[in-house]
């Protein structure tokens, strides 16, 4: 008898739990925010740093103006299961009946299936920073064409070296993560742009093994110091991805006494560049207008929701900024940072 009561009790508890769960499910599917506003999910790779912060600010401001409830979802830079987590955010947005999702997919293949699932569930997807493999599954892409941006940096670097009469030497490259799709596209672009400008002289330049530092400035500094020591004819370095390689490269050039002898070309504005201008540790950068990217993403989503006509691609051009212009350029740029980044 006691056993029967116990079994009935357990069944009762299980029913209660299941009812509770289904209740919470239906609650969450009614509206992610619980308000009448339509919900948009915004899933950047991170939301900190000089590139992502203005984008976040722009998206927040624009969503508020247009009357959307914007849900930010991201993870820390050091998150060990970043891809898995961000794919989970996509699922969360679908389950929460979001009307639109903006996502920066870290890998075109990895996010492809889940983006299709979102599309099949009737949720519109806008990709930014990087794209998914199957373009038909997303409504639009907003952001820099990383190959073209890399090409622009490569061209500018080659023109600069040509202007200095340099026709041979070795070239190094440091990046946060060499396997990230945006980084591989940028690398390809840099070489293409460089070789295009250098023409036949391009064969007189050799490219050293690229450095990956996982955003640890001390790591890119250590590895580049080794490359400078073993390659006295090193003439140029590219740094891509974040402040880690930017700082590591500048400090390696400084510690080896090569300021003004090794030319450093960077990607994206950060106030950290100002550390190296006076001493000649940075030559020039190409910068993405991340504030414009953030604003455009929300505008495009708004158009989709209002069933207005949209383009497939919203390219945001990069801007070349020489070292002597970085401080002035940065003054306007820093106004776009969210409060906590100042």
């Amino acid at each position: 008898m006691k056993k029967k009561i116990l079994v009935l009790l357990l069944i009762g508890i299980m029913m209660g739990v299941l009812t509770g769960c289904s209740g919470s499910d239906s609650k969450s599917t009614s509206n992610a925010s619980g308000s009448d506003k339509k919900t948009l999910y915004f899933i950047p790779i991170v939301d900190t740093g000089a590139y992502w912060s203005p984008m976040k600010k722009a998206a927040e401001e624009r969503a508020k103006e247009l009357g959307y409830n914007l849900v930010f979802k991201t993870s820390p830079p050091s998150e060990s299961q970043k891809n898995e987590k961000h794919i989970g955010f996509l699922q969360e947005a679908i389950t929460s009946n979001a009307v639109g999702i903006a996502i920066a997919p870290m890998d075109p293949d990895m996010f492809d299936r889940k983006v299709k699932e979102a599309k099949d569930a009737g949720v519109s997807i806008v990709t930014f920073d990087a794209d998914v493999k199957t373009k038909d599954n997303r409504a639009a892409y907003v952001g820099t064409d990383n190959k073209l941006a890399g090409e622009e940096l490569g061209k500018k670097a080659a023109e600069y070296l040509k202007g200095k009469g340099i026709k041979n030497g070795k070239i190094a490259l440091a990046a946060v993560n060499l396997t990230q799709t945006t980084m591989t596209y940028r690398q390809d672009g840099i070489r293409k742009g460089f070789e295009g400008v250098m023409g036949a002289d391009a064969q007189s330049f050799s490219w050293l093994e690229p450095i990956q530092d996982n955003d640890q400035a001390s790591e890119s500094k250590r590895q580049l110091e080794g490359q400078i020591t073993s390659n006295p004819d090193l003439i140029a370095v590219f740094s891509l991805g974040s402040e880690g390689p930017d700082t590591g490269v500048m400090e390696a050039i400084k510690s080896q006494g090569k300021a003004g002898k090794i030319y450093h070309f960077g990607f994206d504005y950060t106030p950290t560049w100002e550390n190296g201008i006076k001493e000649g540790l940075i030559t020039g950068i190409v910068d993405q207008d991340s504030y414009a990217i953030g604003k455009t993403i929300i505008d495009v989503m708004d158009k989709i929701i209002k069933k207005e006509k949209i383009q497939d691609n919203y390219p945001v051009a990069v801007k070349w900024v020489e070292a002597n212009q970085i401080v002035e350029y940065g003054k306007d740029k820093q106004k776009q940072f969210t409060n906590e980044t100042k």
């Binding site: 991170v46 900190t48 740093g49 000089a50 912060s53 820390p76 830079p77 050091s78 060499l178 050293l208 093994e209 690229p210 450095i211 990956q212 996982n214 955003d215 640890q216 400035a217 001390s218 500094k221 250590r222 590895q223 110091e225 080794g226 490359q227 020591t229 073993s230 390659n231 402040e243 880690g244 700082t247 590591g248 500048m250 400090e251 400084k254 510690s255 080896q256 950060t270 106030p271 950290t272 100002e274 550390n275 940072f337 969210t338 906590e340 980044t341």
Partner: protein, 326 residues
Amino acid sequence: MLNPKLNDGSSIARKIDSKDLFLKYSVYIVLVVLIIAFSLISPLFLSQANIGNFFRQVPTVGIATVGITMLLVTGRVDLSAGSIAAFAGTAAVFLAVKGFSPPVVILAAIVIGMFWGFINGFFIVRFKLDSFILTLGTDYMIRGIILFITNGIYVKGVPDWFYLLSNTKVGVNFIFTNTLVFAAVVIALTYVMNHTRFGRYCYAVGSNQEAARLSGINIQKHIIKVYMLEGSLAALAGVLLMSNLNVGAPSEAAGVGLFAMAAAIIGGAAFSGGVGNIPGAVVGIFTLEIFRNGLAILGLNSFIQQAVTGGIIVIAVVVDYYRRNR
């Protein structure tokens, strides 16, 4: 004429002796072999420029290794050492940028390190927690807080005096101020571990906690003290690192705790506690850093560098296993 049996026996004895000798001094042998091998492969390896690079790069992780060794001897670990270094180092840069004087900045950083060390030690002894899991948690927590405060942006505008903390040449071209600080820390900690009651307590607690308690050692208090000292060393490493990088970088020094632990174990410390010494740990970190330095000089692919360094750690730990079980 020699008895053949006796002859066989002495040959076996010689074999055992050479094996013992190899196992006992394996880390030192590996270190010497690495130096010889790299200098033969690349003449630049022993150049003044590269030796300078090495001595400027090693102090940060070296100081952290010294602190971790002390903890391992006590039978504990700290995975949050890198985050403490990043937190204290970035805070030091912030204060330096705000115009605080050098003694205030350095003292504040060390107090921050001691504070986090206290938090680690307190939770471990108060709730009888496993140090590996607890410090994994505090590692995330400390890193998260400093990233939140700075929003992941580097603190810049480092004053000259702060930059010179690590980067001032001392006499010769390849010795820098941070190298001297590292040497001073090694000497001081070697003395502390070998000639003071504090050091003896570390070995006693790490060897047999119950026996140490019965002999009158206040174990809880001692463990908290060890964590505070280790935290302050991590903070010092953080200050020197940020000085070397010329910024306050909240994302720096990730994984330093694990790397330092590997170096300490290569140098003779053991997870089980009660074993290890500071000079051995220094040889351990020198071995790893010389290896990484040599690979960088050879211009090897980043991923291969990582794989080979990991392989060396595995081999060294296996050799250590045989050494302890011979």
